[in-house]
């Protein structure tokens, strides 16, 4: 087994036992990157090898001195390119921030630095995290390691593909409506959206501030818990940051007998591809074998999730993106000799098409004469959706659904057909609107393409969620399958 094939936990254990050094792990990952990155294209920026290795050697020295470091010290990783890294390009995959080098680190960047992890580079994404295929990156699309003629999902498609291709041990993404979970599902890795407020958003480029969360993408459930242990916790610089935090790894391996799991019938109807459904139902049957009680439940407000999501997200986007005006940072159009002309030119030329569309929708629904009909109503519907979940969680510990109704689709196939786009992405939105934690774990394959199972839990109960997923992962037996990356493409 090559070093880069190990999970983060296995690599960390080998480091502690002095079987390997961080330098060797990093060299192994660099070798892998030089082998497959030309095909996968999961990075926007890869740091200079020399600098990365210097960092790794520094950690090796600290470990040799017996310095107490986090369990993931010395492990190579990547960050989605909307997470600020001091002095290192942070582009949001947009022309608007093409040359932006932040003067500060995001909270999660600081945490991972303190923990001694080794940053390899910045992962590709849809521009400003708007999209679900990573094809909307200003730079280039990323390919799915399981079939390079297909997309990795999105918007954290680079973060997911890099983990699936063993180019890094883990990564961080961001999730506003499924942007960690959906690519995790399509690339066959674990992806978690934590409870709103569990992880600080300081230094994460805002998309929709009441929905955004940073979350880990990893090779297995244990790695996910280990990363969450590092990045979760209060940060006064994000006033929505919560004060609760747990020790997530402690939950792993505990008994899951008696867990009550509900699967909502609304998620298993029209639009869900039959073979995907079959894989999900098999995973539910295995949950029963673990001693969990699995029942069909109902979330009757599910049909309202999508319009509610689109109105809330667009309204927040139009406000959050007002800051990109060509004055303080980022792209500035050189034409125009008045300030308002500068704004107009900068924004018209700096933003891509999807971004402009959402800004226009957002400003439209926020206009005084429409405010009550659209935005305000959507916020009320959001309350009803939340109550739906609260009711179910009175009787059930977890809710299980497919993460996505389909496996990864072909590059270029998705186009701009809003109808397809909407139905495809419907399963992940509710967790963002309601703030609850949700995770996608690989649970099987359809024609060689991975299928993800989404598990949602009560607010701040990531521990129990991970406990269950850890047991189920073992039972499912799909962990450890690796894609064979070939230029041929398959399916």
């Amino acid at each position: 087994m090559k070093l880069y094939e190990m999970t983060a936990c296995e690599a960390a254990a080998a480091l502690r036992k002095k079987e390997v050094t961080s330098q060797e792990l990093t060299e192994s990952v660099l070798e892998r990157i030089s082998g497959v990155e030309g095909i996968i294209k999961g990075f926007i920026t890869i740091l200079e090898s020399e600098k990365i290795l210097q960092e790794a050697k520094k950690i090796d020295k600290l470990l040799a001195e017996g310095k107490k470091l986090s369990p993931l010290a010395g492990i190579p990783m990547a960050l989605k390119d909307n997470i600020c890294t001091q002095g290192i390009p942070t582009t949001y995959a947009s022309k608007m921030l093409e040359n932006y080098r932040p003067s500060y680190d995001a909270h999660v960047t600081e945490k991972l630095k303190e923990a001694g992890t080794v940053l390899m580079g910045k992962a590709n994404m849809d521009e400003f995290a708007m999209g679900s295929s990573t094809e909307r990156s200003f730079f280039h699309p990323t390919r799915n390691p399981w079939d390079i003629s297909r997309v990795p999902g999105g918007s954290s498609g680079g973060s997911a593909a890099l983990v699936a291709a063993d180019e890094i041990f883990f990564s961080l993404g961001s999730d506003t409506g499924g942007s960690v979970r959906q690519p995790a599902s399509m690339c066959g890795v674990v992806g978690l959206k934590p409870t709103y407020g569990l992880v600080s958003r300081y230094g994460l480029a805002a998309l929709a501030p009441s929905l955004d969360q940073v979350g880990p993408l990893s090779k297995d459930v244990r790695d996910c818990a280990m990363v969450l242990d590092i990045i979760a916790g209060h940060d006064p610089r994000d006033s929505t940051s919560a004060k609760s935090k747990d020790n997530y790894v402690d939950y792993l391996g505990r008994e899951v007998k008696g867990f009550k799991i509900g699967f909502p019938k609304e998620f298993f109807g029209e639009g869900l591809e039959e073979p995907v459904k079959k894989v999900i139902m098999e995973a539910l049957a295995k949950s029963e074998q673990l001693g969990a009680e699995v029942d069909e439940i109902s979330l009757p407000k599910t049909p309202y999730v999508l319009p509610c999501y689109h109105l809330v997200v667009s309204a927040e986007i139009s406000s959050a993106l007002a800051r990109y005006d060509g004055v303080r940072y980022g792209f500035r159009a050189r034409e125009g000799d008045t300030l308002s002309e500068l704004y107009r030119q900068t924004r018209s030329r700096g933003f891509g098409s999807e971004v402009k569309k959402r800004i226009i929708l957002g400003t439209h629904v926020l206009r005084t004469e429409h405010y009550d009909d659209y935005y305000w109503k959507a916020l009320k519907v959001r309350t009803l959706i939340k109550q739906d979940f609260e009711k179910v969680f009175r009787d059930y510990d977890l809710i299980a659904t497919p993460t996505s109704p389909t496996t990864a689709f072909k590059l270029g196939a998705k186009n701009d057909d809003p109808q397809t786009v909407h139905s495809r992405d419907n399963y992940t939105r509710a967790a963002n609107l309601t703030g609850i934690p949700a995770i996608s774990i690989p649970c099987g394959f359809v024609e060689g393409l991975p299928v993800g199972l989404q598990i949602m839990g009560r607010p701040f109960e990531e521990g129990r969620m991970l406990q269950f997923c850890y047991a189920l992962e073992d039972m499912l037996g799909v962990k450890g399958y690796k894609p064979e990356i070939s230029v041929e493409g398959g399916h």
Partner: protein, 82 residues
């Protein structure tokens, strides 16, 4: 303020109409007495004293370095008033 091509206008109109049309589904719901959810945990504003956190000139310098145009500690923009 955004300039759009004719092509973009047609495409956006189509897609935006679709989403707005979607929201007609809300008419089926009784919303009169429902409280809106602006933030999921209904958080209160967190305020602090209006005082500069950093007077570190190197930090200020770095922040200004990110600007497309700057001069003597100020962001430079085109003429605002003739």
């Amino acid at each position: 303020m955004l300039d759009l091509t004719e092509e973009e206008k047609t495409l956006y109109r189509e897609q935006i109409d679709l989403i707005l049309e979607y929201s007609r589904l809300f008419e089926e719901l009784e919303l009169e007495d429902v409280e809106p959810t602006i933030n999921v945990w209904q958080l209160k504003n967190v305020l602090r004293e209006d005082r500069a956190v950093s007077s570190d000139s190197a930090f200020l310098h770095n922040v200004l370095q990110e600007a497309p145009d700057q001069e003597e500690g100020y962001f430079l923009v085109p003429l605002i008033i003739d």
